[in-house]
Symmetry: C2
Subunit: 455 residues, 2 copies
């Protein structure tokens, strides 16, 4: 039976687009990493298209590595800090949601709780926190660590961190403010609560010094695919950004995460699985392919070699582009995606040059990529959606705003024609538009004789 809900859509943001050569596109605003106009434009296009949100990826570090390659690849080197950015963008828009990434490994929970609650108020209920525990050693070096803290430690801290933040967000019950000037009574003292959290990683008294926010609490996004990550997502996440590379794997991942929700008292409707999807669209397949080729042609060999080296965790500097790949530098085990590693190994074994391999990797590394006509892309999205492999997509557009404009112009009308995407926003808040339920304040629940929902 066909689904009765509709697709959720978000715009994934690296400043210039997902492709490392995106900033060289003729339509790219090269000042976009430091002047708001470019990303405001992306937000306005997304909002006019009635997208659910704009998703600000982040890492609290510049990349470390081949200085020549990095000087040609701005994504991680120069970008806005995402919380300040979404705060600014949210007051210049009306309906679009904003997802900002912030790390539980390098922040204090009281600061995160305040920042997101404040932005939820400023935006009138359009804030979402993408909870990450960070990756890459380069982040740890900026916060007093000798590299990235171990995975188990990051997730243990992250899980407690989210608990503290949720607890702080419940400090004021939703109806705690009295605001009675005549009586001089501002809030009801019985509806303001002290958390008194004492855990392994954090001791936080509270209460949070800001009233309950318009969404009850900001929406929670997450991406972790590990066992600990899936458990945290099942317990707390409302948007899950997946990276699996085919329908079957995403379907299995969706089923796996959603099957874990019941034990936390959650409905599967309250978690939207949204795979990242790289879209290259053209009126014809050839036109779409030409857009891919343009970006790959503009990927400087230094950048391609560095990206490939990062993936393989092998030093490829100095390797000649017109020679076969030096087999002794190929690791025996994949460090990242197994599928990608096997593709690369097979390609290498066919005797291609390093230059050809870079090009092959650049095309493949677009993740869940699809290049084609509007019909082909709508078919792809519809198939994933109906199969339960996706509740929507986070569009990893190769270049901004060009690829976003293409999607809105070419694919969106086809999705709407099929009844798969909204004509107008259903609600005022991000939570309403995503069709998520309103969280229950734990103290209000206890007061009303019920049991506070486990978080």
């Amino acid at each position: 039976m066909a689904r009765t809900d509709t697709l959720k859509l978000g715009t994934f943001v690296y400043t210039f687009g997902f492709n490392p050569a995106a900033w060289r596109h003729p339509d790219a605003d090269v000042q976009g990493a430091n002047k708001i106009d470019h990303l405001l434009n992306v937000a306005k296009i997304s909002e006019a298209a009635k997208f659910d949100f704009m998703f600000l990826a982040d890492s609290p570090a510049a990349a470390i590595g081949d200085a020549d390659a990095l000087a040609r690849s701005p994504t991680k080197m120069n970008r806005f800090e995402p919380l300040s950015l979404i705060s600014a963008l949210s007051v210049l828009t009306e309906k679009l949601g904003f997802v900002a990434t912030a790390s539980t490994s390098y922040y204090e929970p009281y600061n995160i709780a305040r920042l997101f609650a404040s932005i939820d108020h400023l935006s009138g209920g359009r804030a979402c926190w993408n909870v990450v525990t960070s990756d890459h050693d380069e982040t740890g070096y900026n916060y007093g660590f000798e590299g990235l803290p171990p995975h188990a430690e990051r997730y243990e801290r992250g899980s407690e961190f989210v608990d503290v933040v949720f607890g702080l967000w419940d400090s004021f019950e939703p109806d705690a403010l009295v605001l009675d000037k005549a009586k001089g009574l501002y809030h009801d003292k019985d509806k303001l609560h002290t958390l008194n959290h004492k855990g392994k990683h954090f001791q936080v008294r509270g209460p949070l010094n800001i009233a309950a926010s318009p969404q009850g609490r900001p929406v929670i996004a997450q991406a972790g695919g590990s066992e600990a990550g899936m458990e945290l997502a099942a317990r707390t996440a409302e948007i899950v950004f997946s990276l699996a590379s085919n329908l079957e794997r995403n379907k299995a991942f969706a089923d796996n995460i959603k099957s874990r929700m019941a034990k936390y008292g959650r409905s599967t409707n309250d978690l939207k699985l949204m795979p990242g999807l790289v879209v290259n669209v053209g009126e014809t397949k050839a036109e779409a392919q030409a857009k891919v080729d343009f970006l790959i042609d503009n990927l400087h060999p230094d950048v391609g070699r560095w990206m490939l080296g990062e993936f393989l965790e092998a030093d490829l500097s100095g390797v000649a582009l017109d020679q076969p790949f030096p087999l002794e530098r190929l690791p025996t085990e994949p460090k990242g995606s197994k599928a990608m590693f096997e593709w690369l190994r097979d390609f290498i074994m066919e005797g291609h040059t390093v230059g050809e391999l870079i090009r092959f990797y650049a095309e493949k590394s677009t993740g869940n990529g699809i290049t084609g006509t509007p019909t082909e892309i709508a078919d792809f999205m519809e198939e994933w959606f109906q199969a339960g492999a996706a509740d929507g997509f986070i569009l990893m557009l190769p270049t901004l705003p060009a690829s976003l404009n293409d999607f809105v112009k070419l694919v969106l009308p086809e999705l709407r024609r099929r009844g798969l995407f909204r004509e107008e926003y259903e609600g005022k808040t991000l939570r309403e538009n995503l069709g998520l339920s309103m969280p229950v304040n734990r103290y209000a629940a206890a007061r009303n004789g019920g049991i506070a929902k486990e978080t």
Copy 2:
């Protein structure tokens, strides 16, 4: 000889105004702590008046104490987080500067460096960081401490924190971005620098992942009056917010701080001493006094008793308003201001009731207060300015927007008539309007054969 420069002015912001009863004023927007309209209005009035900045005071904690009193006194209980707030306000204004308070005791330097650099870009060069080490045990409880960390420890950490942030802000030299699409070169690798800070409190590698900001670096404000605070201000601050209660003390404080600047290679022009000034203005003295009386009459006895108890560090709950002050609860030594303590003790000894004492304290506790006609207030400001006790004032307006509107309507024309305040903004950035010099990037200075300016 009369000064040739002009006054700098800022609007001090507790949400509803400096007076704890401000939210009960008829013009107060009771939703102002959670909806942007009110503070945007305050910003727009300040900008139309050509003020230099809006100053967001902050504490990362709700107040702890008498729940009945706190339920009547919203200032610390419910407020926007200041960094998200100024980010939003800055993109809705064009010329006004924004000062946000953030604590070196409870943040990570990499996060603060990113947030303020990002806001400096978003605002086009109108961001200022008010560096504080925090006060009150209540803040420590939210960050894993058993109360407020000791003063010496806070300042040692704070001083190193500022060094790290300054270092990170220099990561990209001002002309590091090449932005050459054709060559595929985004930045000049030789103009991006790794900090590699290894200190007692912090180890931070860097570089910061955002380009040099429009002001070279955000402006720095500070308020510390201790020896360590004055030394940090002389070394790093560009706005100093003083709290001394008379002209002579402010003059001595200004001279003291400014005399310490030479050893850091700084000109005294690069530090603006701006005392906080509580202004109650009316067309007549009686009208001005009536405004004070209105607020004091609206100060609920619970709030007054709690404030007085906080100052004396004495528990006054349950003390009857119509009885004399219980002398056994009066401490022998002042914990806060000595002058205030002596005023209170003399008043108590005269046999006044607790109710009268609260009223007396509420009037006196307005700090550098002046209540009077536009001429009297302009005389006061001019005298302080010409004596070198102030380079300008941070206006602690009792209620917002009413007292701000009064000041703009009544006092500002008189200041302008005397040539003491600008008719138009001189520059585009806060730094330009304050007449501060542009900081020199340490690496650019070294490259140019000079010696990097000590910070």
